[in-house]
Each structure stands twice: as C-alpha cells, then as structure tokens.
Amino acid sequence: MGESVIQFLETWSPIDVVLIAQNFDRFLLGAWVTLQLTVISLIIGGALAVPLAIARTSKNPIINGPVWMFTYTFRGTPLLVQTYLIYYGLGQFEAVRESVLWGPVLSQAWWCALIAFSLNTAAYTAELLRGSIVNTSRGEVEAAKACGFSSWMRLKRIVLPSAFRRALPAYSNEVIFMLHGSVVASTITIQDLLGVGRWLNGRYYLAYEGFITAAVLYFIIVLMVSRGFRFWEKHWLQHLYPHDAVKVKPKKGLANFRI
C-alpha cells in the first residue's frame, strides 16, 4: 500500500513530493532557525524599543534627535542592506577584525543577522510605541497627576501598560514583518527555512520543490502567529471594544449597497 502510494506520487506528481518528504527534517530544522532568529531579535529589539520610545517622546532635542536619526535610518532603508553592512561591511575595519568580538560574534553570519534584525525591529517598534504613548488619553495622565504620581510612576503605572496594550494590533504586523524579513538570513549563508529551500534546489537542480515547501511552511507559521495575536488582542483589549447591550443586526437593502 505504502509502496504503491510512493510509486503513484513519483510518476504523477508534478513536483517531487518524495524528495521533499525525505528532506523534511532539514526543513523543520530550517524553520527552527527562522523562528529562533525572529524570536530572539524580537525580544532584544523589544527591550531596546521601550527606552528608545520614551526618549522619542522627550521634548529635549539632545535626547530625541539621535534616537530619531536611528529610527529614521533603520526604517528608511532595506533590511537586506543593513544586514550586508554588518556582515560584509564590518570586516573592512582593522580595529573590528582585531577585537575580541570578531572571532566568536562579528564574523559569524548568525550573529550578524541577529544584530541587524534586532536593531531593525527596535527602530520600528520604538516608533509604534511612541505613537501609542503619545496617544494616551489626557484624562488618565491628569488623574495620575492629581493623585500625586511622580513622572516615573506615571510612566510605569499608567502610560506604559496602556500604551503596550494599544500598540498590540500594530505590533502583530511588526512581528509578521520580522518573520518575513528573516528570509534575508538565507542571503548571508544561514540555513534558515528559505536557506534549506535554496539548498535543496541547488543540490538537486530543481526549480520548484524547495521554494514551494519553504513558502508553505512560512505560510503556516504566519497563520499561526496571526491567530495567536488575534486571541491576545481579544484578551488584552476587551475593555476598548464597543460593547452593545443588544447586538445590532445589519440592515438589508440599501444600507448594504456594495459596489
């Protein structure tokens, strides 16, 4: 039975399913590398983003200016070029090549990708956090002031917790963008999910199999991440949704006019 299925696939399937199945463990390993890179850079980038976002809300140009320069540069240029700059570029300087960090970190593709991804997501996350900090409703801040909160306490207890929650929908986009962006790792020799796909195609001289498998696996990961975020949003943003006592039914007829 199993034999005949394989034989059937080998003769009739337009793509080599058997080869994909044989190499599937490599794809899973690649997916693991992709997830690792994405999650670790999101954690580092997120940790960097909080102080950067607070600095961006400062009215002092000495604090605000450099951070703005950082976020503007990283958001205005492709992640691919940023990664190349760190991986291929840093070796240009003798001081870097002779430093202790060169051998174990800065000459390693994995670390360079991690640094580039972390800085990139830090810039995007800082800006979206800044947006949600600035949009904190004034009443909440005034109430905290009236209760005698210091500015640090206000930030810690009132502004940031609510800003984090309101930033969640935009942040879910950033997570998916980072996941998509992590394919850049495959261009600097890392065997991430796409890297494995490219390896398979190169090794067996194929055009579809590796890329299609990678595409399907990326798609599954993205789907799971966005489902997870939808659940989270429902959980954390419940208090911001309009809650009607009676569910309003959509009207039929003209009100539903669609083009």
């Binding site: 240029t77 492709p78 070029v81 700059l85 890329f211 595409a215 669609r258 083009i259």
Partner: protein, 233 residues
C-alpha cells in the same frame, strides 16, 4: 569618498534600475489593488473568495520566497510549456520582469486591503444619496467614491509604497544589477564593502525621504478643506 566617486557610474546606474523597478512594480500593485478591492467588495461570491485567497497567500509568504519561485520556477514552467506545445524552444525570464511582477503582485495584496478600507470609510449616506439621485454604479464610483477614496487611501498607500521601495532590494538576490548588486560588486573589488554598503544605504534613505515628502504634500493637497478635530483626549 574618492572611491565612491570613482564608482559613481555603477552606483547611479544601479539606482536608476532600482527606481524603474519600484515605479513599474508600483503600477502593477495599484492595478492589482484596485482589482482586488473591487473583487472583495463585489457581490459575486467567487470574486470575493478569490480575492480573499489572493491577499491571504500573498501576505503570508515572504516576498523573497516568491521572487525566487517566480524567477526559477517561472523559467522552468515557461520551458515546459514550450516543450509541450512546441511554440518556443527556450524561454528566459529576465530578473527585472520577475522582480516587477512578483513585487507588484505581492504589494497588490497590501493595496487591496488599503483600497478596500478606503472605500468602506466613505459614509454610506453619500452612496445612498447617489442612488436616490438615480446614479448608476459607474457614476457613483466616478463622482462619489473615486475622488474621496484617494484621500482615505493615502496614509495606507504611503506606508505600502515605502515598504515596497525597500523590498526592491531583494531582487538583487536573483542577480538584477540594481543599486545593491552594483554596490556590492564595487565594494568587493575594492575591499571597501562597508563604505559601499553605507553609500547604498544612504541612496535608499534619500529615495524614501523624497517619497515621504512627496506623499506628505499629496496628503495635504487631498485633505484640503477637511476640518481636523482638535485632540479631545
């Protein structure tokens, strides 16, 4: 700095390729976006489902994967079709065409959502008023929906466009001689990769900064006469 001036020809040529790639793929993505928004809002169930599938797939798979698939897979497919039908012997897809098509289709998915949202944010009363005046759908689109859609779609459109310009860098991976590719080659032959990649970074920053300014100007132009409510906290 002198080295960059020495190689400025290659860099400028690459920049020009990048700009062309970005503009052509933008035209594709706007076309696909309008088509997709129309399909998503149509009453036809098949069109709705097709558009939903299109935007889900295109936004779920990283663009580089699709670029590679279209470039290598598309070539193979074209050759197989040629071999079966006997219409052509050997077909080759250019890197530029593969890049324009893929980025156009991918960002068409994002544009679909932007345009759909813009159409939906036009107050229904206006459309109903159009119906009451006896306008047909085409007229309603031309006189009521179309002009206002531009304004509602502009913020999302700006966002997509800025991401799209940066995505064009990925086409260098399949060997298109754009600014990244040319910068990389120049950097490797002079052993000054940092200098050249930094120059490329600055060129991209210039492109996005100019687009940003232009889009802001457009936004002001299309929001003329719109009263913005002061922040009511």
């Amino acid at each position: 700095m002198d080295v960059i001036l020495e190689y400025q020809g290659q860099l400028l040529q690459g920049t020009w390729v990048t700009i062309q790639l970005a503009i052509f793929s933008l035209m594709f993505s706007v076309g696909f976006g309008l088509l997709g928004a129309w399909a998503k809002l149509s009453k036809n169930l098949v069109a709705q489902k097709t558009a939903a599938g299109y935007t889900t797939i295109v936004r779920g798979v990283p663009d580089l994967v699709l670029i590679l698939l279209v470039f290598f897979g598309g070539q193979e497919l074209a050759n197989s079709i040629g071999a079966v039908t006997g219409l052509w012997e050997y077909a080759e897809i250019s890197q530029f065409a593969a890049g324009v098509a893929t980025i156009g289709v991918v960002f068409g998915g994002y544009m679909t959502e932007t345009f759909r949202g813009a159409i939906l944010s036009i107050p229904k009363g206006q459309i109903e008023a159009g119906v009451a005046c006896g306008m047909n759908r085409v007229l309603i689109f031309r006189r009521i929906i179309g002009p206002q859609m531009v304004r509602y779609a502009l913020p999302g459109f700006s966002n997509n466009w800025l991401v799209q310009i940066k995505s064009t860098a990925l086409v260098s991976v399949i060997g298109l001689q754009d600014v990244v590719y040319n910068g990389f080659v120049a950097g490797r032959s002079t052993r000054l990769l940092f200098t050249f990649m930094f120059a490329v970074l600055m060129i991209y920053l210039l492109l996005t900064a100019i687009s940003d300014l232009a889009l802001r100007w457009l936004d002001r132009k299309y929001s003329k006469g719109i009263v913005v409510r002061p922040d009511d906290g």
